[in-house]
Each structure stands twice: as structure tokens, then as C-alpha cells.
């Protein structure tokens, strides 16, 4: 029997309330979401599994979001990474883009905003896999 393919999304934010808000919204939209509040645990998880999209906070204890983003892109160049941050600056946005982030979303955001960004990221990933994007 064929099982339905669901896009895999990893969420990393040290604020549990953010994970608690995002996970059900993404699942309701038809994605499979795993949440982490500690970057070390998320880092371990990406050694086990490739995700289609990673959503990460920037400012965290231990390994920060920028280092996590670097690690994800090094390991899986096709994985699209979305940065969400409560402490946005031009500098962090520029650094994120230099490291290949798909989009940079400042908090607070509405769920629809992040769902739209995820949808666009997945569209890009799908197009890349089909060779439609240089």
C-alpha cells in the first residue's frame, strides 16, 4: 500500500511557546513537524534524518541559529532554511543570506506568514529537485 508523502520540517527555537504554536499549524497544513528547544538535540537529529525545511531561531544558548544554519546547509544543501528571530538586525539578516537562508522572518509573525514562507520554500526545493531552477 502506498503511503502519503509528507514534507518533513524541523523547528528549533529555545522558546517552547514558539514550537508549541508552530507544530500544530504545520501539521494541520499537511506537513510532518519535529520540534526542538535545544540546538544540540536538533544538531543530533539532522545527523539521522534529512528535512525538507528547517525553521530556526537565531539567538540561543549553546550552538546558535547561525551555526545551526551553517551545519544544515553543509550537510544538506537542498534543505531550505528559514530563520525566525526576535532580535533582527541588518547584520544578522545579511549573514543569514550569505549562508544560504531561504527567508528571514522577524518575530512577531502571524501563522499564515510562516506557512506562506514554508510553502514557497518547498516550491523552490521541489523545483530544484526537478532541475527547473539553476
Amino acid at each position: 500500500m502506498e503511503t502519503e508523502h509528507k514534507f518533513q520540517i524541523l523547528i528549533l527555537d529555545d522558546e517552547p511557546i514558539v514550537c508549541k504554536r508552530l507544530k500544530p499549524a504545520l501539521e494541520k497544513a499537511g506537513y510532518e513537524a519535529e520540534t526542538f528547544t535545544q540546538s544540540a538535540m536538533a544538531l543530533h537529529r539532522i545527523t539521522e534524518k534529512e528535512f525538507d525545511v528547517v525553521i530556526t531561531d537565531l539567538k540561543m544558548e549553546g550552538l546558535d541559529g547561525m551555526a545551526f544554519l551553517t551545519e544544515v546547509k553543509k550537510r544538506y544543501p537542498k534543505t531550505e532554511v528559514i530563520v525566525i528571530t526576535g532580535f533582527a538586525t541588518m547584520d544578522t539578516a545579511r549573514q543569514s543570506y550569505q549562508k544560504g537562508v531561504f527567508d528571514f522572518v522577524a518575530k512577531p509573525f502571524k501563522l499564515k506568514e510562516i506557512l506562506d514562507v514554508v510553502e514557497n520554500a518547498l516550491a523552490k526545493r521541489t523545483a530544484t529537485e526537478k532541475g527547473n531552477v539553476p
Binding site: I17, R21, G86, F87, A88, T89, M90, K107, F109, E113
Partner: protein
Amino acid sequence: MKILFAADEFPYSGVALKMAAGLAMNTWSDITLMGVVPSVADKPATQSSIAGALEQYRETFYELCSHEDSPFKLDRVLWEWIPMQDGAWEQIKVFRGAHKDVRILLRFGQPAMEILKEARNLQSDLIVLGSTSGDRCLWSEAADTPQKVVASAESSVLLVKEDMAVKRIVVCIDDVPIGQEALEMINQMIVIHGASLVLIGLTKEGGTKPAVYQRMIEVGDYYADRGIHVESRTAEISELETLISQETREDMLTLSMSKKSVLGMLFSREWVERFVSACKSSVLVLR
């Protein structure tokens, strides 16, 4: 984050535009610049003074936000199919920003109502608008627009009254938890202005509820954990208006006006308007 900048054609709106542009650029937000033409205008809307002002605001916005690293830098010219009336489509050449675009809207009618309607349509996180400085906060023509927007908006509102550097963000705390979105909005303001944070716990008739202390500790810890300098103090709720008028000259005053907050419950819309009028500097009303 989605920002709606609502403006008329007078200088205080130009001051607020600078604040909105700085916010949009740092947070890579979607931003919409909006003006409202009175329904009884005597000439075509595109020839109105507000249409001219919006064009000037667009030019100013791009002067402020078109440097090399800006998400708004115009670096793409594309032919795009644009929907027209009656289901028709037309291909039009459009400029696109490197990562973000600016929308410019002209609406008709009563300004406050149109701004509130557009904020709902856009699902804005923040409305930014300017007003006259000093003891009053008005628009030159539709005078009560700032107060009506502040009192009735479903989203947070930043009312810019002066073109000055914000050194401190002053947050009034009652016994109701500050929501996550409000905490995040304050974060962004602190980072953008390089400001410190002052928490004022609101007391009533000399007594402080333990819950207010609890909230002050929670909020203080939240920001201290993020490396932000926090000062705390208490103030009588009945003296809030005086405190606002005397002590917030170089600060951005932040008022939480959620339905559950004491400020939201105790004070009617008229009081919100009075607080905002009393404040000499910019006011951020959180919802």
C-alpha cells in the same frame, strides 16, 4: 512581520516614515504605505495631495532603504501577468526588490476607518503613524485619526510623535502576563534603537499585588536572559497619566492594551487616547 505605514501629507508623517523604514529594513518586514483621500475630494484621487505625498514617501523610503544589503534594493525588472478587471490579464513590466517589496495604497473615505480596515485585510502586526508632537496627538485635517487608530486597532500601533533617538523603552506591567507577540515586539524595538528597558509595575492605592511582582520578575528575567539591561520600579496606576507626561520625554512608552490587561479593562478608549496624548515621545500600544 507585516507593517502598515498610514500617512497624511504633513511633516509628522515624514518623521514616522523614517521610523517605519528603519523597522522594515532591520526586520525584513513586508511594508505597505497607505494614504486616504476624503470621499468628497474635488479632483481625481491620483492628483490629490496625499497621492503626491505617497510618491514622495516612496522616494524617501528607497533613499533610506536601497543600499547594497537592503532587502528592498530594486534589482530585478520582470514582466509579470497582472490581473485586471473582468477577468482580463495584462503583462506589465515591474521592478522587484532583492527580497522584499513595498506596496503603496490609496483608499477613499474616513481615514481612521480605512486604516483599521486595511490593517485587518493585510493582517498587519504593526501600524505605524505619525502625529503632532507636544501635548496633543492629532492629524492636521482628520484630527482624531491617531487616537481612533490607537484606541480601536486589533494589531499593535506605533505612534511616532518626535524625531528623536529612543534611549529607553518603558513598559507598564500589570498582573496579566504579557503575550509572546508583545514580548517579541518589545525585543525588536530594543534591538533597533539600542535602547535599555524600564519596567514599571502598576500599583493600586499603595499596594502591589503579588501577581504584579511575579509578572515583573518574569518579564525582567526574559529580557535579562537575552542580555538586555533592565531597570524596575513601581508606580500608582492613578498617577500613570502624570508619570507619562513628565517622565517619558526621551523614551518610547509601551502600553499593553490587551482585553485581559488591567489597563485594557480599567480604562475606556477615551483613557487610552488621554495616555497617548499625555506622552511627549513615541508610544507603542501592544495588543
